[in-house]
């Protein structure tokens, strides 16, 4: 058993007891975590493994670039829209296609809608159960719950009768033995700190959020023609607009736009009166988590930026979400990020189940190779086909290790907020300062599991505000007579250059997302994506740097390694999504089974 220090400053000790969590529940995709805990149950080594393999290039090769968005949005059940948008941007970049102003605004509305929806669903339906004990809610006093709810918000659904009915429904549901979405919880764990009333209130809002999210996605249905799986279009948006049109067939008319406006208003209401107050109330019971789970966030964070104010301008000046990189914990300098520079973003596979001709070096995505190579290290422990523990000194994940100028980076809402905060942008700095003041915690508490979860909530509010802004901008533009939504000048492949490369990026709700495309003879010759969870969940690189998930678990004390709620709290705070980073089969059809309990 050995102790090593990584270049990014972590001391790893793989002695002690090895604890395996596989799969991590309530996420999209398959993630396995292994940690070593010492006698005090403090995590001294962490290993993050994507256990499934997928190569986007395998399905996109030789396809029509104009259809790539339809394929990439099927990769995952969660980030459909953001993959589609990233793909459009990559194709447009390669072919030199510009989009009209209205298309830019509508895409921003689509993307912001996704933010609000994804953050809301993540908080209530994936993450809240790490902090809220559903079973404890059954012993809440409805009257006291009502008082609590009314003390934190003016949200109207807060009467004693409302909570009393809810409690009865929940009781019946739990007693029927079908916990449904509430199964796999560590109910009764000593780390749950909320009083029963706060738990009941949170369960009420869990259900209200579930009910409300259906309204938010109507915006996707209106602009995308349908939902699920809305339509997208290279060169613009696939919806014609006719303000004076009647009936609902065909072009989007004023009635449809009014519906969008009213959904946005209700969204603002829900986020500001339910989500944000709940976040503050719950966080106030978990302030200790402001010192846990920070990982790389205080060292190395990155954002590509998103939500261009000006159509076709993806420069920092135009992008409303912050862009840049912070490294080595030096908050005084924001570095410029260039997705085309072969020396900046590179993927390494020395610890990944892939092979490169020279694995000491990284490859830029335009030169990317995805050739699977599933081999276990000499110190992996196996039992038949089951793997008891992996050998992190060798290859141990189907995620590659992306690095920015050699640095492991954290991406996501917290990264965006840290960069915006350091840039001194009031719309990011002021809410953070407000949050810290309300919770009475120092700035340092931002770099933590609590900070990550809080940043997502603040960003949800930001996105709801921006939705309103872009909606008003759209209406003003349309009323001024500009109804153009698509540029089809280069629609025909005969107008395309013979051999071109492009890159498209977005900030997905869970972090920086890039698609790199190579179009040759009007077909896709190569397509590579680096998704946010590849950044955050990455394994070690040739220099030995650990990734963001791994770093975030270091030095966390686990109350009971058999029920490692603490691990789930921190990993869920990243909103991991592995469906698009990973798969179960090798390319030759050999089965690659990495499954244990």
């Amino acid at each position: 058993m050995a102790t090593i220090t990584t270049p990014n400053g972590y001391t790893l000790d793989n002695g002690g007891k090895r604890v395996v969590v596989d799969p991590v529940t309530r996420i999209e995709g398959h993630l396995r975590l292994e940690v070593n805990v010492d006698e005090q149950n403090v995590i001294r080594n962490a290993v993050s493994t994507g256990t499934m393999w997928r190569g986007i290039e395998l399905i996109l090769k030789d396809r029509d670039p104009r259809d790539a968005w339809a394929f990439v949005q099927r990769i995952c059940g969660v980030c459909t829209g953001t993959h589609a948008l990233t793909s459009l941007r990559a194709v447009e970049d390669a072919l030199g296609i510009t989009i009209p102003e209205n298309a830019n605004i509508i895409r921003n509305i689509m993307q912001l809608t996704l933010y609000v929806h994804d953050h809301l669903v993540h908080f209530y339906h994936l993450h809240a159960l790490d902090w809220v004990d559903v079973v404890s809610a059954l012993s809440a006093d409805p009257k006291a719950t009502s008082e609590l709810a009314q003390s934190i918000s003016s949200w109207p659904m807060s009467s004693p009768g409302y909570f009393s009915d809810l409690k009865a429904r929940l009781k019946k549901f739990v007693e029927s033995g079908q916990l449904g979405p509430f199964k796999n919880g560590y109910w009764g764990h000593s780390a749950y700190k909320l009083p029963p009333e706060a738990n009941l209130m949170a369960v009420a809002h869990y259900l209200e959020a579930l009910d409300f999210q259906k309204d938010i996605v109507k915006i996707h249905a209106i602009f995308g023609g349908k939902n699920p799986h809305p339509n997208w279009l290279v060169g613009g948006v696939p919806c014609a607009i006719n303000l004076d049109g009647v009936g609902a067939v065909g072009a989007i008319n004023m009635e449809r736009l009014n519906l969008v406006g009213s959904i946005i208003n209700r969204t603002l209401d829900f986020v500001s009166k339910v989500y944000v107050p709940d976040l503050m109330a719950i966080a106030s019971f978990y302030k200790d988590w402001g010192a846990i789970g920070g990982g790389l966030s205080s060292m190395s964070v990155m954002s590509y930026g998103d939500i261009p104010e000006f159509a076709n301008d993806y420069s920092e000046k135009s992008l409303q979400l912050p862009r840049g990189a912070i490294i080595n914990g030096d908050l005084s300098k924001i570095h410029e990020v260039d997705l085309r520079d072969p020396g900046q973003i590179q993927e390494f596979v020395s610890h990944s189940w892939y092979t490169y001709p020279d694995e000491s070096k990284g490859l830029h995505p335009w030169d990317g190779i995805t050739e699977a190579n599933f081999v276990l290290g000499p110190n992996a422990k196996t039992q038949g086909r089951n793997i008891e523990s992996l050998d992190e000194a060798a290859k141990y994940s189907f995620l590659k290790a992306p690095r920015w100028k050699g640095h492991a980076m954290e991406v996501g809402p917290l990264a965006r907020y840290i960069i915006g905060y350091v840039q001194g942008k009031p719309e990011f700095k002021e809410p953070v300062d407000g949050l810290l003041k309300t919770l009475d915690v120092p700035l340092q508490a931002l770099f933590s599991t609590l900070g990550r979860t809080a940043a997502r909530g603040l960003e949800c509010q930001w996105a709801a505000d921006k939705l309103k802004y872009y909606y008003d901008k759209l209406i003003a533009n349309l009323k001024a007579g500009d109804l153009n939504t698509a540029n089809t000048a280069k629609w025909e492949p005969s107008s395309w250059p013979k051999d071109v490369k492009g890159v498209g990026f977005t900030e997905a709700p869970r972090g920086a997302l890039g698609h790199w495309i190579h179009i040759k003879d009007t077909k896709i010759a190569n397509y590579q994506a680096i998704v946010p969870t590849t950044w955050n969940g990455s394994p070690r690189d040739p220099a030995g740097n650990i990734g963001a998930f791994e770093a975030s678990l270091m030095n966390t004390k686990v109350a009971d390694p058999q029920i490692p709620l603490e691990i789930l709290r921190t990993i869920h705070s990243f909103d991991p999504c592995l469906a698009c980073s990973t798969h179960v089969m090798g390319p030759q059809g050999q089965e690659v089974e990495v499954k244990i309990r």
Binding site: E28, G29, R54, G55, E57, L58, I59, K61, D62, R63, D64, D67, W69, A70, F71, R74, I75, C76, G77, T80, V121, H125, R169, L170, F173, Q178, L179, G180, P181, L207, L210, D211, Q213, K214, V217, K218, H220, A221, I222, G224, G225, K226, N227, P228, H229, P230, N231, G247, A248, V249, E371, A579, H583, V584, M585, P587, Q588, G589, E591
Partner: protein, 204 residues
Amino acid sequence: MSITPDDGLLDGFDTLVLGIGNLLWADEGFGVRCVEELDRTHQFPSHVRLMDGGTQGLYLVHYIQQARNLLVFDAIDWGVPPGTLKVVRGDEVPAFMGCRKMSLHQTGFQDVLAAADLMGHKPQRMTLIGVQAEELEDWGGSLRPLIRQKMAGALELGLAELADWGITGERRAVPLAGKDGLVGNDMDIASYEAGRPTLSQMGL
């Protein structure tokens, strides 16, 4: 199905015919392909919605809540011979969908049904038509021939179930072209299969 006036919005249907699964994963696409084919060949009254649910999981809950009648097509792993068709009704549905975890969306779909129930809007009638999958792990592949053959039988069962509910589909004189169907943009089954590169083209 063309884009109908209320498409994506909640008004106007009480019967949902839902295909679930991932098109990119061989037989996992069975449910969606069934609904695609049903839509290509039949026209239904406006209160019937045919939907490609993909792997949307919890995001489908409001459609489930809206539905008084729910007919689901899916590929299932019951550990029986590949191609076996099964019809499961009512309260049995969630249990059957979760008897063996096959993919991401399945536990998801069980949760969706439970969530709809908890919110007090479980469909009054619910039927699952499932096929035992043969191959689930061929990334970028399509339905295996055996499973594809079973689509006709599954659709017959589905039409019979709908007829029991008093709903008749009218056979289209000319089936919709794939690109005009429920799954467009080169993802309709014919284009999807035609465009798949061979392993050697992918350099494997």
